[in-house]
Structure formats: C-alpha cells, structure tokens
C-alpha cells in the first residue's frame, strides 16, 4: 500500500480511456438514441395524423354511402315508374291488337257468312227453278224470268 508511480500511470490510463470514450463511444450511441427519439416522435405524429385522416375518411365514406343510397332509391323509383309505364303501354297495344284481331275475325266471319249466304241463295234459286220446272213440267225460261228470280233472290 505504498503511494507510487502507479498513481500517475492510473491517471494517464484514465485520461486515455476518457478521451477514447468521448471520441468513439459516446457520440455514435448518443446520435443513434437521438435519431431514434425523433423517429419515434415522427412516427407518433404520423399515427395521430393517420387516425385523424381515418376519421375524416370514415365520415366521407358515410356521406358517399348516404348519397349512393339516395341515388339508388331514385333509380329504383324511376325504374318502377318506367316499368308500370311499360306495362300500361303494353296493355294498351295488346288491347288495340286484340281489338284489331277481333275486328278482322268479325270481318272474315261476315265475309264467310255473306259468301255462304250467296251460295245458299244461288242454290236455293236453282232448287226453286228446278222445283218450279218440275212442277210446271216445262222449261222455264230462265232468261225470261230473270227479273223475277233476282227479285226472289233479293227476298231470301
């Protein structure tokens, strides 16, 4: 336990160690720590900003949804209206078409009836003429009685 040169040696060693620590150890570690601190602060700020923006986006999305719902309702209403219109329209065309078909059928039937009537009339005339000639036992001059027959035909 003598006081000797070790004291000086220790002082020199100490000085060298402190110098080395000050030059090569402390600054890089401290720089990294500081840098990380700012990084974390930035990250937190960004997170906060992100949260804020998320809120805004949610609100915006809600608005858009509302608007879309309204539009969809409008479109639906329009479509319904249009559909009923189309139905009405087709009903109308169907009705007119049906009328037209019925009318043409009527006309055809009438025509047929008329034709049949004409035919019947002709047959009746010839039958009547044949009957009459048989009754009279003589040839009735068809030409001579043409006016009479025509009159008869028109009466049938």
């Amino acid at each position: 336990m003598n006081i000797n040169m070790t004291l000086i040696g220790q002082s020199i060693t100490f000085a060298i160690f402190v110098w080395f620590c000050m030059k090569f150890v402390w600054p890089p570690i401290m720089a990294a720590l500081d840098e990380r601190k700012t990084k974390i602060a930035d990250g937190l700020a960004a997170a906060e900003k992100g949260q804020h923006e998320e809120g805004l986006a949610k609100q915006r999305a809600l608005e858009i949804l509302k608007k879309a719902k309204g539009e969809a309702g409008e479109i639906l209403a329009g479509a319904q209206k249009r559909a009923s219109e189309i139905v009405e329209e087709s009903k109308g065309t169907a009705r007119t078409e049906a009328d037209r078909i019925v009318q043409s059928a009527h006309a055809e039937i009438e025509q047929d009836v008329n034709r049949a009537r004409e035919e019947l009339r002709g047959k009746v005339v010839s039958l009547a003429v044949a009957g009459a000639s048989k009754v009279l036992k003589r040839e009735v001059d068809a030409k001579a009685n043409d006016d009479l027959l025509k009159d008869l035909v028109s009466q049938l």
Partner: protein, 295 residues
C-alpha cells in the same frame, strides 16, 4: 488457501501486497520480493497488477462499447446495443439531472468512470485466491520465482494509487474548468472572498485568510474524499473476503460455514460495488457542475 506453512498474518499480508516493479536499493530494476523491498523502492515504482487489471478492464469496457457504438442504429436495437444504450441512457439522465452547464466531456467522463470503476470493483467477486494462485503458478513455473513472493492483487480499486489517480484527474479537470469558465480571478475570488464577505474593503481583506483556509480545505477534501471513499469500501470488502477465505483451511465445518458467508457477502457486495461506482460518478458530475457554475 492458506497452507500449513503460512500463518494467517502472512496470508493476509500476502494478499494485500501489490506486485511492485521498481529500482532496488542496490540499483537494479526488478520486482519486489517482499513488502519491505516494495517499500524501499519509494515513489518511482509501479504496481504491475493494478496497472494490468485496470488497463485490461478499461480496454474491455471500451472494446465492448465501441462494438456497440459501431452497431448503433436508429432502428430496432438488439443485444449488446440494447445493453450499451441502457447504460448510456442511465448515465445521460444522471448527467442531465445534476450537470447544468454545457460540456461534451462530462457525460463520456461519467460513463467511463461508472463502467470502469464498476468492472474494477467487480474483480472483488472473483474468489480471492484464484488469480493470485494462478499468478503464483505462472511465476514459479515460467519465471522460477518463489510462489510466496509472487504478489498479485486483482482488484485495482483496493489500491489507493488507482483511486487517488482517478480522483486527482477529476480534481485537475474541475480546477481547469473552474479557471476556464470563471477566469483565474473568478477562481481565486471564489477561494478567498467567501463565505465571509463585507462591504468595507478593509474587513474584506482581513477575511481573506479565513476564507482561503476554509475554501482550500473544502477544495482539497473533494479529491481526497472521492478517492478514499472508493478505496476504503473496496479495501474493507476485500479484507472481509480474505478473512472468510481463511475459514476454508479451518476444517470442513468452518469451510462450509465460510462458503455460505462468502456467498452472502458476495451478494451484498454486488450492491456495494455498483453503489461505489455510482457514487464516484455522481460526485464527479457534481464537482464538474460546481466548477462550471458561479456562486
């Protein structure tokens, strides 16, 4: 362990003697073979073991932290860097807490003191006989020395030279910064014009010797208390380890008892070595702060 041929006194003395290299009275340079020879070498001798372990530990500290510093990244830290950052942040908080001025030296100084002193103190937890026995074996087999004359003290902080050397370095730093910050006049004024002061210049001058005496004592007390506090604590702790180690040669019962005592004291000592390193660091920071601030 104390063998039969060594008495307790010799055992303790052997453990408390540093390996000293210096000039023998007859003129040649070499290691001291006894405490008396070491004493005769006077001031111009050096404790090889103290220097060896303090440099080894200091280099280990710097190597470890330099490795961490090279890996320093602002991203995710891992392993060693995490550990280094933990200590650096702790030191940084301490420095910011007690040091108000701006000086880039103080924080690295505090870091060096804390880790270095801690590591040197930590050597106290190595069982007291291991390294001296190893040194004795190396000395006797490689250099043909008598193992009883190979002294080896592994805890540098139990050598007052080490603690006084560090305390004096801190002391000169505080004086340097005192003069640098306040000027020579300010420094001298701080030493002579307070705590007693008066409006009357004549009385003021009369107070100077009293003030100087008071302030000088308190100035000198700083490095001495700094050095002796660390030295005393570690020396006492080492002494108790040595005394416990002596129980191992006193039969199996005492040996087991001594083992428990050693374990208990070692666990308690973990607190002491950390605390002493912390106190040395904190006081250094406080002294540096005082050097930077005006009264």
């Amino acid at each position: 362990m104390a063998s039969e041929t060594v008495t307790s006194t010799e055992y303790i003395k052997h453990h408390l003697q540093n390996m000293t290299y210096g000039q023998h009275p007859d003129g040649h340079w070499g290691l001291a073979h006894s405490a008396e020879q070491a004493k005769e070498m006077g001031f111009w001798a050096i404790h090889v073991d103290t220097m060896f372990w303090s440099i080894i530990l200091g280099v280990f500290f710097l190597w470890l932290f330099r490795k961490a510093a090279k890996r320093a990244t602002s991203g995710q830290p891992s392993g060693l860097l995490n550990f280094a950052e933990w200590i650096v942040e702790f030191i940084d908080t301490s420095v910011r807490g007690s040091f108000t001025a701006k000086n880039n030296l103080v924080a690295p100084l505090a870091l060096t003191i804390f880790v270095w002193v801690f590591l040197m103190n930590l050597m106290d937890l190595v069982p007291v006989d291991w390294l001296p026995l190893l040194a004795g074996w190396v000395g006797s087999t490689m250099f043909g020395a008598d193992p009883h004359h190979v002294f080896f003290k592994v805890v540098p902080t139990t050598d007052p030279n080490a603690t006084i050397g560090m305390a004096l370095s801190v002391f000169f730093l505080t004086i340097f910064y005192s003069i640098k910050v306040k000027g020579l006049g300010g420094f001298v004024g701080e030493l002579t014009l307070q705590p007693f002061s008066a409006k009357n210049p004549l009385i003021k001058v009369a107070f100077i010797p009293v003030n100087f005496f008071l302030e000088f004592v308190s100035l000198i007390a700083k490095p001495i208390s700094l050095a002796l506090r660390l030295f005393g604590n570690m020396y006492a702790g080492e002494m108790i380890f040595i005394l416990i180690a002596m129980m191992f040669s006193a039969g199996i019962g005492m040996g087991i008892f001594g083992g428990f005592l050693q374990l208990g004291w070692a666990i308690f000592h973990i607190l002491i070595i950390t605390l002493q390193a912390f106190i040395f660091m904190t006081l250094t920071i406080v002294y540096m702060d005082m050097a930077h601030s005006e009264h």
